[in-house]
């Protein structure tokens, strides 16, 4: 996979810190699972967390606490434990009979193993969506979008951040061309209008942490319908 568009440094820090909404974190985790370079970078951001943890003034802990944990551990015989952990890993990775190569693992927890089996809801002809059940604060959402070739998204900007991860097909906007694995990591400064330029449908995973602002009258009319 030849990934050209990566996560913003500030986004990686927010994900590592655990200070990002659930919906945004899902998109970030999906991109990281597809992108070795961002995976190395996120490990560095997590190292900031490790360092900060190390720097904290310790809280006092009762002796009971250690005893309780040790008692728990004693009740878990080693051999069975390893078998159990292996089994858990196994069932997590293969919870779905198989996972297609264009479904990142963190997403498979939400939709199963295939983009073709998703229950799509039409917004307007050529544009379909599927909402993901991420609990989110402040009106952010995460959803899958499927857009037909030649279609454009409505021009919009954002109050907050928007993450768009391409899973299949491609689109182009003011920022360049985005193909599978690429992520558009945009903030409120940018107004854009993505246009699908692949022969197949473009499927992307998108998350916002605040409602979008559409810049045309049509967009403002459609907004209540699309729920963005």
């Amino acid at each position: 996979m030849n990934i050209k568009h990566h996560l913003d440094e500030a986004t990686l820090v927010s994900y590592s810190a655990g200070s990002m909404s659930q919906s945004m974190a899902l998109v970030v985790a999906c991109h990281i699972s597809m992108c070795p370079s961002c995976r190395n970078r996120v490990q560095e951001s997590e190292a900031i967390g490790g360092m900060l943890l190390e720097s904290l003034t310790p809280e006092s802990i009762s002796d009971d606490a250690l005893d309780q944990v040790l008692a728990c551990i004693d009740n878990e015989p080693d051999i069975e434990l390893e078998a159990m952990v292996e089994e858990t890993n196994f069932s997590q990775s293969f919870k779905h009979e198989s996972i297609d190569s264009d479904v990142p693992k963190p997403l498979a927890d939400y939709i199963g193993g295939s983009l073709d089996k998703v229950d799509w809801k039409m917004i307007v002809p050529g544009v379909y969506c599927h909402d993901l059940p991420c609990k989110s604060e402040r009106g952010g959402v995460s959803r899958l979008l499927k857009i037909s070739p030649g279609k454009a998204m409505l021009p919009h900007s954002h109050d907050g951040n928007e993450l768009t991860l391409i899973l299949r097909g491609s689109f182009s906007d003011e920022m360049g061309r985005f193909t599978a694995g690429d992520i558009a990591d945009l903030d409120s400064e940018i107004e854009h209008q993505p246009l699908v330029d692949s022969d197949e449908d473009c499927i992307c995973l998108i998350a916002t942490d605040a409602p979008l602002k559409f810049s045309t009258l049509l967009g403002k009319i459609v907004q209540p319908i699309t729920g963005f």
């Binding site: 440094e9 200070s19 900031i48 360092m51 904290l56 006092s60 963190p106």
Partner: protein, 198 residues
């Protein structure tokens, strides 16, 4: 707590280790993975558990919850030790991610999306020197001490208070773009200092 401006107590939370007199926790965690030695586990517990509890309290959870989540995190250390990869992360980094996930899962009642633990097992790739990354914990501590206050503040608010960029922007009364550029500057500076200062 109530009347403090965010990040004001920065001075109180950083006890910069100038010399690492501690045992090498990463080696010990790797040894725990191999031997399942309770003696080593107890040492790791005594070192990390009080810091994990401190971290969880800073996230805004009450003490009884912090105790419980600390215990869950330390149990996860025992149960998942075999997944720890010494060449990919320092013990403190790995344990931080476990504590973070336990806390978030509890607060949101929804699993924090992870990019997949199986990646920890990957063959080391040639482009990045992971071993280099691991020995950097005290270099990093020094680097952190060198950051301008405005930059360390946004890091503390992210890692310790769990605040999103938008929340930090509200609290500090600065535009979202400024929050992000401070975080970028801080993070890039840390990486730089941390690599140069060998």
């Amino acid at each position: 707590m109530e009347n403090k401006t965010p990040g004001e107590d920065v001075e109180n939370i950083i006890a910069m280790p100038t010399k690492q007199a501690d045992p090498n926790w990463s080696d010990m965690l790797a040894e725990l993975a191999e031997t399942k030695s309770k003696t080593i586990y107890v040492q790791l517990f005594r070192h990390f558990a009080p810091k994990i509890k401190s971290y969880i309290i800073r996230l805004g959870l009450v003490e009884s919850t912090a105790d419980e989540l600390m215990q869950e995190t330390m149990l996860a250390v025992w149960r998942k030790a075999h997944m720890y990869n010494r060449t990919k992360a320092a013990a403190s980094t790995w344990i931080f991610t476990l504590a973070r996930n336990q806390s978030i899962d509890w607060m949101r009642k929804q699993k924090y999306p992870e990019y997949g633990l199986e990646e920890w097992h990957e063959e080391p790739d040639d482009e990045v020197d992971h071993c280099e990354q691991v020995v950097t914990s005290d270099r990093m501590a020094k680097a952190l001490g060198k950051l301008p206050e405005k930059q360390s503040q946004v890091l503390y608010m992210s890692y310790f208070e769990g605040r999103s960029h938008a929340e930090i922007s509200d609290r500090l009364g600065i535009p979202l773009g400024s929050v992000k550029s401070r975080i970028r500057l801080a993070s890039e500076k840390l990486r730089m200092l941390w690599r140069d200062d060998v």
